[in-house]
């Protein structure tokens, strides 16, 4: 699974997850060193109307700045951004966020696919996307785009996922670069150039 290629400098790390992914985030974020040189963008499926809770919860596990995305906001390194519930989160060519209230994709809004796909075209080979535990196939098509544009596709080892379906679907359909246990994810992020 591990591959030998000189990885380009990471410009953005995007983490997508659904059922069972919150636990992973809560375990991984404390391990991530707060001085990383790229932004972490988190897109997780959750119930509409619980907007401010997730960023607050995540901010108790890290010294990095954690915030819910504001529309048209510039994407800055060293910040953890959380996609607002009930909007798709898109990345613009000028490396700002935009929001979109179009149809749900894979029954989801935000859809991981939408963020992965738009980011793939912006960051290309400098994008790293990680797909965590979940019970639907959102993110799989997005990871394909990431690969098509030269980025790096990572999944949580399905064996370690509370709900294996999402990373397992990615493994079946996409050429995955790395498959990581929960313990390995934090170390991997810290080693990203």
């Amino acid at each position: 699974m591990e591959k030998d290629r000189l990885m380009e400098k990471c410009k953005a790390l995007i983490i997508g997850g659904s059922a069972g992914s919150l636990d992973v985030l809560l375990k991984v974020l404390p391990v991530v060193r707060p001085d990383i040189s790229f932004p972490i963008i988190i897109v997780v499926h959750r119930k509409h109307g619980t907007d401010s809770l997730l960023p607050v919860l995540l901010s108790t596990r890290t010294e990095m700045r954690v915030k819910e995305v504001d529309e048209k906001e510039a994407i800055l390194a060293g910040t953890i951004y959380v996609a607002p519930s009930d909007y798709h989160l898109l990345i613009e060519q000028d490396q700002t966020f935009s929001l979109d209230y179009s149809e749900k994709i894979n029954y989801s809004r935000p859809a991981i696919d939408a963020t992965f796909q738009t980011a793939a075209e912006v960051y290309r080979s400098q994008l790293v996307c990680l797909l965590l535990s979940g019970s639907n196939a959102d993110g799989v098509s997005g990871l394909k785009s990431v690969k098509a544009w030269g980025g790096t596709a990572i999944i949580q080892d399905p064996e370690t996922a509370q709900v294996a379906y999402m990373p397992a679907q990615a493994k079946l359909n996409v050429q995955i670069d790395y498959e990581l246990s929960i313990e390995a994810i934090g170390d991997f992020i810290n080693l990203l150039p």
Binding site: D51, D70, E71, K72, P84, D86, Y87, L90, I91, E92, Q93, S98, L99, D100, Y101, S102, E103, I105, D113, A114, Q117, T118, E121, S141, K144, S145, K147, A148, W149
Partner: protein
Amino acid sequence: MLEVPVIQDEHVEILLSDLLEQYGYDFTGYSRASLKRRISRLYTLDKALSFAEFRYRISDDQAYFKRFVEQITVNVTEMFRDPSFFRTLREEVLPKLGTYPFIRIWLAGCSTGEEAYSISILLKELNLLHKSLIYATDLNPAVLEKAAQSMFAMSQMKQYSENYILSGGLKDFSSYYTASYSLAKFNEDLKSKIIFSTHNLVSDHSFNEFQLILCRNVLIYFDRDLQHNVLDLFDNSLEGLGYLALGSKETVDFSRIAKRYKRLPGEKIWRKIG
């Protein structure tokens, strides 16, 4: 959705300049990521053979051009979306406007009309509908035709009814429509004070003075410059002490009009104070 989109950034620019030159529709101030996704989606959906063919069809075929505009603008909406927002309208904003002899409301970007009927229901329950007028506008004539039919999918009614109750509604929601097969037809009296009309926020001017303007989840599709222009337009169309309501992720902060507006606690509703 294709992994590598067939529509490239430069294709989007070409189409936008075609639309502007040929039809006078200006989408150049729209955020690109969303537009590009929707154009790519339509391209794939309609199985265009090449970009050249796609472009030609939009230019040459009036009916297809209509479809194009309909499909690249987002028309997803709900009744009583964000119930706490409608609760604030019900309990705070509309009762204040109720002291006026006549209430004029502008619902900009009304899409297929779900919000217009929601507001009409609020006004009716507050006993204000008879002295109100709701101008519901959209740039897209096709969605306005749909809105004027006052029929929505029956499958949505459970969700809408829940939203309605959460927003403070006390009636039986089903008393507002008649069900026939898969459609819920809303009562005629709700439509009697709604005027559906085309208006393009990019190019059209102010057309009246209002005490309440609602424009929710439209500004997110515009770039900063266009957002500021549209907020100026709203400012010019709003009476003193009138209210401006935006979507849950939209704001007047950072705009030229910000200093004249005071936000109501908890909601994306601003009152014009200056």
